[in-house]
Every structure is written in C-alpha cells, then in structure tokens.
C-alpha cells in the first residue's frame, strides 16, 4: 500500500482564498451599478483597464520571481486591487494614469515584498497616493453626476476619452470636469464661506452628501454589510472607523455647523464607505487582532477627519489607511488577546 502521510488535521472546511476575494468583488457590484447610473460608463472602462494592467503586471512579476502563475493569478487578489484602485480614481482619467497606479500597486507595493500576504501597505492605496501626488491635476478632476452636467457618457465615449483623451462630439469638456463635493467644500471653506451658503449655492451637494455620491456610498454600505454577514470581513474595523468619524464630526458640527460639515456628510461623501468596508479591511495590511482592529478603525476615522478638515488634501481615506498600516504591526503586538487560562498581561 502506498500511503500518503501529511500532518493532521486531515479534513478541511473547503473555504478557499479565491472564493473569499470573489465575494468581495460581488459585494462591490451594487455600488458599481449605481456608479454607472449616476456617472456613466467611465468607471467600467477604468475597471477594465486596471484589471488588464493588474493581471499583466502580476504575471510578469510572478514570472520574474519564478513563482507558479496558475494558482497565483487565479486567486483574484490582483483583480480586487485593480477594481478598488479603479474605483478610487476619477472616471475618464487617462489610461496611463491607471497603468502607473496599478504598476506601483502590484509591483512595488505587493511583489517587492513577496507578493500576496506579505505587503505591509495597502497596494491599492499606494497606487492611488503615488498618482495623487505625482499628477494631482488629473486625479482631482472628477466628473459631475450626469444629472448635473446634462451629458451622458456612453461606453464608447468613455473608452475614447480614456485612451485618446478626446471627448465625443458635443460634449463640453468644462461640463465634465469638476471638483468632488469634499474638494469643493474644502476650497470654499478656505475662502471663508460658510457651509449653509456653500451647500445652498451648489447642486453638487445633493440631498444628503453629494448628488450621486450619497447613493453610491449607501450601496457600498449594503455590500459591506453582506460581507460581514458572510464572515468575509469582521465588523470591528468598519464600525470603529465610521463611528469614530461620525463622533468627531458630530462634536465639531455641534460646536460650529457653519465651519464643520455634518457627520452624515462625512459618512456619505468621498471614500468613507468604500474605505471602511473594502479598503481598511484589507486583511493583509490591517491589524489582525480584534482589539487591534478596533484601534485601527478608530485611528483611520480620526485621521480621515483631521486630514479632511485641516489638512492639504480634501479626502484623507487613502492617507489614513496607509498611516494606520504603518501602525498595524505594533498594534498587533500589543493587542494580543488574552490566552485561554492566562491573565491578561501574561
């Protein structure tokens, strides 16, 4: 009898890495759909280009590192990184912007550290920040919702805008470049306007927190809750992050609602929901203990608020995530759970 002798346990739950990643992708679907509804097909083009680039770079990196391609490419982690990156960058951004961002995400932030599981920093956010500081103009010009611009962007139109930089006939370039609500708010505040005035003056702010944005953020919330339900992510990080963000935003808002935006605005604008459920929760780069996760989430919430309110950048999710990524190993070390039968501090 030829016997196989691996170590115990000999059975397995059957959970698979690629399935985990796929679930996260599914959870993004509602938000992506709403994105298309509100902002046109640009985002789809973004995603396609980013995924293509990510798979290419991943394959090259694996080949150079002499690692098997098959199971690694099939784990969907690169796809997920690419999709998250595409969601963070403005639709109709030039294709090379996406490619540079993906290059830094996949090659620098991931494979130089040894690939999946070893990177200390969130690859998608590294990619995003690299292009943000290198090409601030391209990264901070966003599309207004179609309802405001009155232009509707078709798939082909988006493709040609992204690849060649030329817009389809009849579309006014000025009509489709605009600052995001957060950016706009910040700019206006620095000009000593007050919030009621700013919001009143501009249709971009929608009903809750930015026309279009508010619904997309709610869709991220729904997807995120499904992920928690499916046990793909733990509740700690998103809840801690959103709660702390809402809490400080609430405090300042109560102090002076003309200089500080409402908690609802903070929760439903920019990348708050995407960040809370999909980016801060990246298991590789987040803290992995429960207490650590809570501190990690709180840290991100606070940093997001600080950067949004007083920093140089209108949106702070990416920086906050990276900053807390730096803290994660330390957090992990100091928040080890109490071992069964041991006192807390042994």
């Amino acid at each position: 009898m030829q016997l196989n002798t691996p170590s115990s346990p000999h059975i397995h739950s059957g959970d698979q890495l690629s399935q985990l990643m796929q679930r996260v992708l599914w959870a993004l679907l509602p938000a992506i759909t709403l994105y298309v509804v509100f902002f046109g097909w640009g985002i789809i083009v973004n995603i396609l280009i980013a995924v293509l680039a990510a798979l290419t770079f991943e394959a090259i990196a694996l080949r150079l590192r002499k690692r098997p391609l098959g199971s690694n490419l099939g784990d969907f982690s690169a796809v997920l990184t690419a999709v998250l990156l595409a969601l963070a960058l403005p639709p109709l951004a030039p294709w090379w912007l996406l490619v540079v961002a993906v290059f830094f995400a996949i090659v620098f932030a991931k494979h130089l550290y040894g690939g999946l599981g070893f990177n200390p920093f969130n690859p998608a956010m590294i990619g995003y920040v690299v292009v943000l500081i290198s090409f601030p103009r391209e990264v901070t010009t966003w599309l207004p919702p179609e309802a405001i611009s009155g232009e509707s962007i078709s798939f082909v139109g988006a493709l040609s805008a992204t690849l060649t930089g030329t817009l389809a006939n009849g579309i006014n370039p000025d009509a489709i470049s605009m600052a995001t609500p957060l950016d706009h708010l910040k700019t206006q505040l620095t000009q000593n306007h007050v919030i009621s005035e700013i919001i009143h003056d501009n249709t971009i702010f929608g009903q809750l927190a930015g026309s279009g944005w508010e619904w997309i953020n709610l869709a991220f919330l729904v997807g995120g809750c499904w992920l928690i339900y499916k046990k793909v992510i733990h509740w700690h990080i998103p809840v801690a992050m959103l709660a702390s963000l809402a809490l400080i935003a609430g405090v300042f808002w109560l102090i002076d609602s003309e200089r500080y935006a409402s908690p609802l605005f903070h929760l439903l604008s920019g990348g708050a929901m995407l960040g809370a459920f999909f980016i801060a929760t990246d298991p590789v780069t987040a803290s992995t203990t429960n207490r650590g996760r809570i501190l990690f989430g709180i840290g991100i919430g606070i940093l997001v608020y600080i950067i949004r309110s007083w920093g140089g950048y209108p949106e702070g999710v990416a920086f906050a995530v990276l900053l807390m990524n730096m803290l994660a190993p330390t957090l992990d070390y100091y928040t080890q759970p109490r071992v069964f039968g041991r006192g807390r501090n042994s």
């Binding site: 500081i133 290198s134 090409f135 601030p136």
Partner: protein, 235 residues
Amino acid sequence: MSNTSYRDIAEQGLWQNNVAFVQLLGLCPLLAVSNNTINGLGLGLATLLVLLCSNLTVSLIRYWVRPEVRVPVFVMIIASFVTAIDLLMSAFMHDLHKILGIFIPLIVTNCAIIARAEAFASKNSPGYALWDGLMMGLGFMAVLVVLGALRELLGQGTLFDQAHLMFGSGAAWLTITLFDDYQGFLLAILPPGAFIGLGLLIAAKNWLDQSKRKRTEATLATSNPDPLRLHPDQS
C-alpha cells in the same frame, strides 16, 4: 589592515563597501539634495573635499588622541574643515550654497566621514588614508550624482538643470531637456521618491553583483551552485 593595497581600497570605496550603497551612511544629504544632478554634484564635491582633509589630518594625529576624547577631536577637525568649506562656498558659489542650505554644515554629521576617520584613517598611514578618502568620497559622489540624475530625469525630464549655479552662467548650455512637454513624474523629486530611488539603485547593485557571482560560479562549475538561502522554503 596592514596588507591593504591601493587597488583594494579603490574597489572597496567605489563599489564593494560603498558608503551610500553598502554602509548606508551619509544618507541624509544623499536623499535630501539629490533631487537634481547639479545639487548632487555640488554636495558630493564638498563632501569629498572634507573627507580628504579629515582623513589626512586624522591619520597624521592618530597617535596623539586618547580614546575618551577621540570622537570630540575627530568631530572638531571635521567641523573646522566643513565650516571653512561652507564659508568658501558661500563666497564663491553663493546660489548653490543657498540651495544646499543646511546640508553643507551638516556634512559634519555625515556619518560616513567620521566612520572613515574611526575605521580607517585612525589606523592607517596618511597615504592610505588620503587614498581611502578619495575613493570613498568619489564613491559617495557617484551615488549622489546618479541618484540626482535619475530623479531629475524622471521628475522633470531634464538633466543638469541649473548648471550655471555651479559652473557659472556660461554653463547654462549643459542643461539637457529630454522631453519638451514632459509633465514630470513628481514622485521622483518628492521625499518618497528619494527613498524609493535609492532602494532601487541598491537593488540594481545587488543584481549586478548577483549576476556576476552567478557567472563566476558557472565558470567554476561548482557542484553546489546554490548561494545562501536564509529561508529554506525558497529553495
């Protein structure tokens, strides 16, 4: 260190034990002023000069200094030279001096210089010490210039921008603009780019060393070609 040869010292300084690449010393000026080739060159030269003077002096006085004041004495010698050079640069290359700013007086604390004084000059004769200073300084300057060129090229698409600061206004023609409407990859000239750039340069050096080693190994055709494996799972 008695059997060191000039050739060895040169090889050590320029490549094998390069201050910036291998010893990872003198990083502050290296990263701070290397956003531009000319800045790199300027600081590199200043450092080289100080290194030469300090190595020579330290070697000359090596028998007179007792251990408890060794560091203060070395540091003071270095500081004197640096101040002198600082003053000279301020007088004759005022604009460049202004750009390099605080990093000229900070040559004093360029760890590389005191490290050479401690590790080499205080144990060797003046001739060797001078040669060591020259080679180490050149090695350091080379890295400064290469990193500067790389960052300048990527960051703003030019080379030797502002050459006139160093060589006078007649040298403006030295500036090369590679792409005319190049937008500039700002990461390269911002602080993060400095770190990443140096990391990549060192990786490139490792790669060169590795492929050289592989080649020699292949020619030797040893029975056991695997180099060091720290982590057996990578075998």
